[in-house]
């Protein structure tokens, strides 16, 4: 192999950047050169932030959201409605829901979705924990907010099967035309769903 054109420390930095998603050798080089141009204190702040995030962020022991406190800020918030539970696949789904600002209840993060083709079975998800929470809690309603993909639908159906005997109200988020979308450009499957899920005005 040819000797690297970069000084050793720079080559290592580029190498580390290429580990990030969407970063190829070219982008890694650009980022590395940018780091060299930055103020030393900014570089140190970045490095500490990286290490800190990795060290301090874990999973909430109640809802499995990413958290730096136990329980997480949502589970520990006395303002939140403790009778509604929203089940999502991943922590980023939870963030997306929070951004909508219409949901004031609690969450449960499954850390994945059932995928028979990839060999992801029920045992890989936080399902026993969910059942235990619903059994022990005072939830009136459980909202299944998994993705509208095959995996997400399968997961929602599977959870519905598990929770139905507990007598709690189970709902599934609606599927339909996106806000600001144009019917003409909506796909057939989504339109069919939108029509099925129509409601009185």
């Amino acid at each position: 192999m040819a000797k690297s054109q970069y000084p050793e420390a720079l080559a290592r930095l580029i190498q580390e950047f290429t580990r990030l998603p969407g970063i190829g050798p070219k982008s890694a080089q650009r980022l590395a050169f940018h780091v060299l141009r930055m103020e030393e204190r900014d570089v140190l702040a970045l490095a500490t932030a990286l290490a800190d995030a990795k060290r301090r962020i874990g999973r909430c022991s109640v809802c499995y959201n990413l958290a730096d406190t136990q329980p997480c800020h949502i589970c520990g918030d006395p303002q939140r409605d403790r009778t509604v539970l929203c089940v999502v696949e991943e922590a980023n789904d939870l963030i997306a829901m929070e951004k909508a600002r219409t949901f004031g209840g609690l969450y449960h993060v499954l850390e994945g979705a059932l995928s028979p083709l990839e060999g992801v079975g029920p045992e890989a998800l936080r399902l026993p924990e969910l059942v235990k929470r619903v059994k022990g809690g005072e939830f009136r309603e459980v909202i299944l907010a998994t993705n509208p993909t095959v995996e997400g639908e399968a997961t929602a159906m599977y959870i519905a099967r598990l929770l139905r005997p507990l007598g709690v109200r189970l709902t599934r988020i609606a599927r339909g035309v996106p806000v600001g979308g144009d019917l003409e450009y909506a796909d057939e499957v989504t339109l069919a769903r939108a029509l099925e899920g129509r409601r009185d005005v």
């Binding site: 060999g119 095959v150 599977y158 996106p178 796909d187 057939e188 499957v189």
Partner: protein
């Protein structure tokens, strides 16, 4: 840039990169085609709805350097009920995984396409009870194995080739996955599992066989030797298997499968398929847990 049209069933749609999906499409003329649907996971993408597994779509593809891409698509038959119901979804996943594993890329097989389409339609129409789903999947297994060249021998001993009538009485007949079908008592007693040289892949060690314990547990009375176990089939089961292997879809549907035949056939075919593919299909666990 060369564009072309693909009219097929989506077997798999796995997430790729930030917002893309790679689709595995089964087309009657082109065979199995892989293509990337750019941005198909974004809410605003018009490809999103059609990129769901098991749907039957018309795709317009552009030729890429390593991977072709999807520019447009239109749903022909969405098969949404295969995704909205757990047993159906589990069964369709099994079919898709099996086909994806066996069929090679760009190797056209209109018969396989017809069979998968027919199986999806049948799954969509039938009440998704355990009995129905099992019936549909066994009919699929037998017909697909025949198309793929993996058909188990059901008329003659897989070891010595003697026709069944010459050695089978009215009792149960042994089925050996290692031999590739039913085996006569002489072959079974002779060499290990009755396979003549060449019937079992060379270099097969007992440790390679992944699932002996599970199958043995279901049939405690069977001899436990190295390799896949021997499964006993009653004459009725064998007759049903032969019928399903040769039947067209209409005749496959009218067959009445007894629970016993379904169970024995299921065990024999599962062992056979696992042996042929040299791996256990991943969707089997999910299927088992859903059908309960």
């Amino acid at each position: 840039m060369v564009n072309y049209k693909v009219d097929g069933l989506v077997l798999k749609a796995r997430p790729f990169g930030e917002a893309d999906r790679i689709l595995t499409i089964l087309d009657p003329r082109l065979g199995k085609v892989e293509a990337v649907a750019k941005g198909a996971r974004r809410v605003k993408s018009s490809l999103r709805g059609a990129c769901q597994p098991f749907s039957h779509n018309q795709f317009f593809l552009w030729q890429g350097r390593s991977l072709d891409g999807i520019s447009q698509c239109e749903v022909v038959e969405s098969f949404s009920c295969l995704r909205d119901d757990l047993p159906r979804m589990a069964a369709a996943s099994y079919v898709a995984e099996f086909v994806d594993d066996v069929v090679r890329e760009r190797d056209p097989s209109p018969e396989t396409y017809e069979l998968v389409l027919d199986t999806f339609r049948w799954l969509a129409e039938a009440e998704p009870t355990k009995a129905n789903v099992t019936h549909i999947l066994r009919a699929f297994d037998l017909r697909f194995l025949a198309l793929a060249g993996f058909a188990p021998s059901l008329d003659a001993c897989a070891g010595c080739g003697q026709p069944l009538a010459a050695w089978a009485g009215t009792g149960q007949v042994a089925f050996s996955a290692a031999a590739g079908g039913v085996i006569c008592p002489a072959c079974r007693a002779g060499t290990a599992l009755g396979g003549e040289e060449g019937t079992a892949p060379a270099g097969e060690t007992p440790g390679n066989w992944p699932d002996t314990s599970r199958l043995d547990a279901a049939q405690p009375g069977l001899p436990c030797r190295a390799g896949p176990p021997v499964i006993l089939l009653s004459p009725g089961t064998l007759a049903s298997m032969r019928h399903l292997a040769q039947a067209d879809s209409a005749r496959a549907r009218v067959l009445r499968l007894t629970p016993r035949a379904a169970q024995e056939m299921g065990q024999a075919l599962r062992a056979h398929i696992t042996y042929c593919l040299d791996r256990r299909l991943k969707s089997l666990d999910f299927l088992d847990s859903v059908l309960g």
